[in-house]
Amino acid sequence: MADKRITLDELIGELRSGMTIGIGGWGSRRKPMAAVRAILRSDLTDLTVVAYGGPDLGLLCAAGKVERAVYGFVTLDSIPTDPHFKAARQAGAIECTELDEGMFYLGLLAASQRIPFLPTRAGLGSDVMVVNPSLRTVVSPYEDGEELVAVPALRLDAALVHVNRADAKGSGQILGPDPFFDELFLGAADRRFVTTERIVTTDQFAAEGPLQTLCISRLLTDGVVETEGGAHFTACVPDYSRDEAFQKEYVAAAGDPEAWTAFRERFLEVDEPGYQLAVGQATVEREARVAAAKAAAGTQGAR
């Protein structure tokens, strides 16, 4: 049986500039951020990024890695928009394919089923049909004669998803409430990579969660990378929730060139263990600041 365990560097070695890369998760939830950070450190460029977008897309835009973004939305969930994606859009720095988020699902499904398109009502009458002039409609061959949008297959060169547990053979386990569309991202891609909080032995899956949490089969994976904290700062429940304080600092830093340089140097120009270490230190510093502020307020109150 193949052992699919690889390192982050080996994963990056499988990618090429100009590729179309799908990134799993949703908004600021269960994003394969360790893999995204590894792309930021690489010399990969001119990527087409296909995602239910969050900070993954924002960071890749900030680093100038994105030629085209394919998305239905880009959001940080608790903060409506990602500042870097917003800046890239407003500067006209990237090309975009903006789809209804259900059309996006059908595009991945069509690609995973190796068919050219899937029909839907979603998109009809909206500017999605205007800003994507290559989109076509299709007329039902049956008596109803309905004219529907033909969502083209969203074929991917590579897909990156992050799960809670995986085994060395490439089966993945999602323990949170929503598997999102990770299975379809993998199904739509030629090269399929799963990063995981922890690699376990296959016999440990059952103790972690029920059968339906085993929703990524090894039929869909080529490589598995163990990256604890690999979704940080996005949510990866039940292992950890979104690091809201860090996300706020990410947004604040994006608004100021000097602060962004400092953020980049501290958190992005280091390897993954260096990132996790820096995040740990930043958390300790933040907690100390909060404690000091509270103590100061307490002293004032006593006066």
Partner: protein
């Protein structure tokens, strides 16, 4: 003629706040609905859908805002971990539900126009927007698959515009132009703003002023609207909550008064 007393809290003397009228107007969006998944974005819609569920639309199915349907009617701001869940509703199943039509929804709108187009994608030219917003999200698919209404907490000529910059949610004229597959399940039921309630129940489906919230004049509404509204000769006031509804709003559904932070009286 005697001078009416000063309207200190904007309630017309009833003690009912503007935010509470907005919640009632949002609740009314769900009147007549049976067993459909009811989703509501924004504080007044979230309150309204809960109130409808507790009173005149008891079969509504509420979501936990994450990946489940909830059995009870949780107050605003409760810890999601404490909710009693009755079904699994991950996003993939949400789309199946949307496309089945078993859903009624109140979304927000950064811009809305005369024929009911909504924009949450971008302000300015889509190709290079002045302000990038969240993206079209599910608005195109929602509007052609099930009843959709909008909540605009900041009614002004910037939000009520002649023509939206990017058609995300599809209005009547655009649906009609797209053909029978687009109109088949299309309905923009209501628009609720901080000033009043609007619908499209006119011969050519253009926006009509349905009611003004007490304390708001018709002129205030038309002046804050960037297009020509259909204004009936008699414009009623948005109905007040019944004593029972007011009690539910204040003590059961929103004891922390979150509604007053969204819409200040």
């Amino acid at each position: 003629m005697s001078t009416p007393p000063p309207d200190l809290d904007g309630s017309g003397g009833s003690g009912v706040t503007r935010a509470e009228y907005c919640a009632i107007a949002c609740a009314e969006v769900f009147r007549g609905d049976g067993e459909v998944m009811a989703s509501a974005f924004g504080t007044a819609p979230a309150l309204g859908v809960r109130l409808a569920r507790l009173t005149f639309a008891p079969d509504l199915v509420l979501t936990d805002g994450d990946a489940a349907l909830v059995a009870g009617v949780p107050a605003l701001g409760v810890d999601p971990a404490t909710l009693l869940l009755e079904s699994h509703m991950p996003y993939r199943r949400v789309f199946d539900t949307v496309w089945s039509g078993r859903r009624n929804l109140i979304m927000m709108a950064s811009q809305i126009d005369r024929t009911g187009n909504q924009n949450i994608s971008a302000i300015g030219e889509w190709a290079r927007p002045k302000v990038q917003l969240i993206g079209v999200r599910g608005a195109p698919g929602n509007t052609v698959n099930h009843s959709t209404s909008y909540w605009v907490p900041n009614h002004s000529t910037r939000s009520f515009v002649e023509q939206v910059d990017v058609v995300s949610g599809v209005g009547y004229a655009r649906a009609e132009a797209a053909g029978p597959s687009a109109t088949r399940f299309h309905q923009i039921r209501r628009v609720v703003s901080n000033l009043g309630v609007f619908d499209f129940e006119t011969p050519d489906h253009v926006m009509r002023l349905r009611s003004v919230h007490p304390g708001v004049t018709v002129t205030e509404v038309t002046e804050a609207t960037g297009f020509e509204l259909v204004v009936p000769e008699e414009v009623p006031e948005t109905r007040p909550p019944t004593p029972e509804e007011l009690e539910l709003l204040r003590t059961v559904l929103d004891p922390r008064g979150l509604r007053e932070r969204e819409i200040r009286s």
